[in-house]
């Protein structure tokens, strides 16, 4: 006969509190472990989230449409027509937060001191404001105002290199569709700062129509950039846009446009997993020890229960259930502690002390912990599954005792 689950539950629960000191120590360990898993993961997530969001805000958006050859050769010849009616309808849907069109071509910028190869981006300043954050990071002067603005906004780092400043004129030179040199003088109207220094040095902004005129490209554009709701889930958006966009275009999500950022997210997922498992391994020794001690202390009653007719499986389940109680109580308290300690920090942790190093990694000086339900679930599932696997060995041993030997054990 299989022992009824109720009998096993009562035995497991009471046995758990028999050596309450040992139980409390183990519970404390599981609680601290669960807390560390979730709390630290939220900090790491927050850091990476900030980097990715920042990365996305600094140019790519969530989804982009290009000429199929544009990414290999981002020249003016590989450009697109302005969005069709069908695409415009798709861009009006709920899953699109904002969108804009850009001209983006390689060019050369020259001050009277120096010249450098850069990327010239022609933007619609109004639409661009809801997609990228360059307008918010103007350190000197102003950002572009409208599509016809004649000014030029360059990175502060580039200005230093070129030894120029707002108010001064520079020459921007590129190629028109007939491979003829197209150049034009611009007045620098503003400087921007970016978290990624390379970006500050090689990207300059002008109004889209001004650039189109300069390059004699009519209303052709280099890319359509689209911002969705959640950067972690862009596959549906990508599909929707793909089906609305012209056939001879390439529609890609940000992970593929910026493989560095995309990889960072994947690496982070792996890192969270490893972190949880490592903490669990530290816990598992305590857990195994607790159960082995419990089995040793109860050899006689294990024998007794078997003599009375409880099958070995009844003994096994009893110890497994005891471990399960231990794990779930510890996890429960740990989860509450983690959430309770993260919530007050969600308004941001000031890291200005160590901000220099963080900025180099592309993160801001304020850390916003990011608590994901999926991470909490992952931590709990890992602890429960691995915890039960760890308990299986002592529990199995307990069920294998020979009743005669167990009873006569002194």
């Amino acid at each position: 006969m299989q022992t009824p689950i109720k009998t096993i539950t009562i035995l497991a629960w009471r046995n758990l509190w028999r050596n309450y000191r040992r139980t409390f120590i183990m519970l404390a360990a599981i609680t601290v472990g669960a807390w560390a898993m979730i709390f630290m993961t939220a900090l790491m997530r927050g850091m990476v989230d900030e980097m990715i969001k920042d990365g996305i805000r600094s140019l790519p958006g969530h989804v982009q449409i290009h000429h199929p050859l544009y990414r290999d050769d981002p020249s003016i010849t590989n450009s697109l027509s302005a969005p069709s009616k069908q695409l415009l309808t798709a861009l009006k849907q709920d899953d699109v937060i904002a969108w804009s069109t850009r001209v983006r071509v390689p060019a050369v910028i020259s001050s009277e001191r120096d010249s450098r190869g850069i990327i010239l981006v022609g933007i619609d300043p109004v639409a661009e404001r809801s997609i990228t954050n360059t307008a918010d990071n103007i350190s000197e002067g102003r950002f572009l105002t409208d599509k016809l603005d004649n000014g030029l906004v360059i990175g502060a780092a580039l200005a230093k290199r070129l030894d120029t400043q707002p108010g001064k004129r520079v020459v921007v030179m590129s190629q028109d569709p007939d491979n003829e040199i197209a150049d034009r003088g611009f007045r620098i109207v503003g400087l921007y700062q970016a978290t990624i220094e390379a970006m500050e040095e090689n990207t300059i902004y002008a109004a889209r129509d001004t650039v189109q005129k300069l390059l004699k490209m009519g209303d052709q554009i280099s890319e359509v950039v689209i911002l969705g709701k959640d950067y972690r889930d862009v596959s549906t958006l990508t599909e929707n846009i793909k089906s609305a966009a012209a056939n001879d275009t390439e529609v890609l999500p940000w992970q593929e446009l910026d493989t560095y950022l995309g990889t960072m997210l994947k690496v982070m997922d792996g890192f969270v997993f490893v972190w949880i498992v490592v903490i669990f391994l530290a816990l598992s020794f305590g857990l195994a020890n607790t159960l082995i001690m419990a089995v040793f202390e109860r050899v006689r009653e294990i024998g007794l229960m078997q003599a009375l007719g409880m099958r070995p499986s009844g003994i096994l389940y009893q110890f497994m259930l005891e471990a399960f109680f231990l794990l779930t109580i510890g996890l429960g308290i740990g989860n509450i502690a983690a959430v309770a300690s993260i919530k007050p920090l969600e308004s941001g942790i000031d890291l200005s002390v160590v901000a220099e190093g963080m900025a180099m990694m592309g993160a801001g000086s304020t850390l916003y912990p990011a608590l994901y339900i999926s991470d909490i679930i992952l931590a709990n599932i890992i602890v429960i599954i691995l915890g039960l696997l760890t308990s299986l060995v002592p529990a199995w041993r307990a069920s294998r005792y020979d009743p005669v030997e167990a009873i006569t054990k002194t």
């Binding site: 035995l11 028999r18 007794l304 229960m305 009375l308």
Partner: protein, 232 residues
């Protein structure tokens, strides 16, 4: 009817190089309602025989039939079920599960058997009364005296009306007075409920309760006699 029948049981233990004889060609039949004392010096094979009869240990050879069911080649699980339904055990000590109250200890066997809760409660209170512990239902084993613990064990052994009760030196850890009270209880249960008892002991005074006295030595039965002078 025969409660248990053992035929030519042999059991040897290997201790390093040495072979120790536990049972040597033991044959006995015990009828329903008998009150048997198994006596003999320490090491004579009493425990080994009781363990074999109760399905806790499997003899090397021979046959055991409990209630006309052969038990000597059952699997581990089947053996557990056999013990659960047909045998009541009373050991020398540590008879009770420490985390369960007296009543819960009595209900334990019924619980494993799958007896419904209400029936369990009624029966467990009934047997508690029978063994004279009606007030101790909610006490944990640690809150009971040695004699009381043995009584709870007896109550648990009889509660589901097994074919026979095997008690291995049940009085060995008790003082004389408590021991004779426990023996009185055994005799009474045997008389009123026709419960079959096999009680091992090496205490002369306990043997005086026996109506059938089996003497063992070196794993063999050396005498088996019916007594009419037993304390009744």
């Amino acid at each position: 009817m025969t409660a248990i029948s053992c035929k030519a049981l042999c059991r040897t233990f290997q201790q390093g190089e040495v072979k120790i004889t536990g049972l040597d060609q033991v044959t006995i039949d015990i009828d329903d309602g008998e009150f048997v004392c198994l006596s003999g010096p320490s090491g004579s094979g009493k425990t080994t025989l009781l363990n074999a009869m109760g399905g806790l240990d499997t003899p090397d050879s021979g046959q055991i039939t409990v209630n006309s069911q052969r038990i000597d080649h059952l699997s581990k699980g089947e053996m557990a079920d056999m013990r659960l339904h047909k045998i009541g055990f009373v050991f020398q000590a540590y008879n009770l599960i420490p985390v369960l109250t007296a009543q819960e200890n009595i209900e334990f066997v019924m619980q494993v058997q799958g007896v419904p809760a209400t029936k369990r409660h009624i029966k467990s209170l009934e047997v508690l009364k029978e063994v004279g512990l009606e007030g101790a239902a909610d006490r944990l084993p640690s809150q009971l005296s040695g004699g009381q613990q043995q009584r709870v064990a007896v109550a648990r052994a009889i509660v589901s009306k097994p074919t026979l009760i095997l008690a291995d030196e049940p009085t060995a850890n008790l003082d004389t007075k408590t021991a004779s009270q426990l023996m009185d209880l055994f005799v009474e249960l045997n008389r009123h409920h026709k419960i079959t008892f096999v009680i091992s002991t090496h205490d002369q005074r306990i043997m005086t309760y026996a109506r059938r006295l089996i003497k063992m030595q070196d794993g063999k039965i050396i005498s088996d006699e019916k007594l009419s002078s037993a304390i009744q």
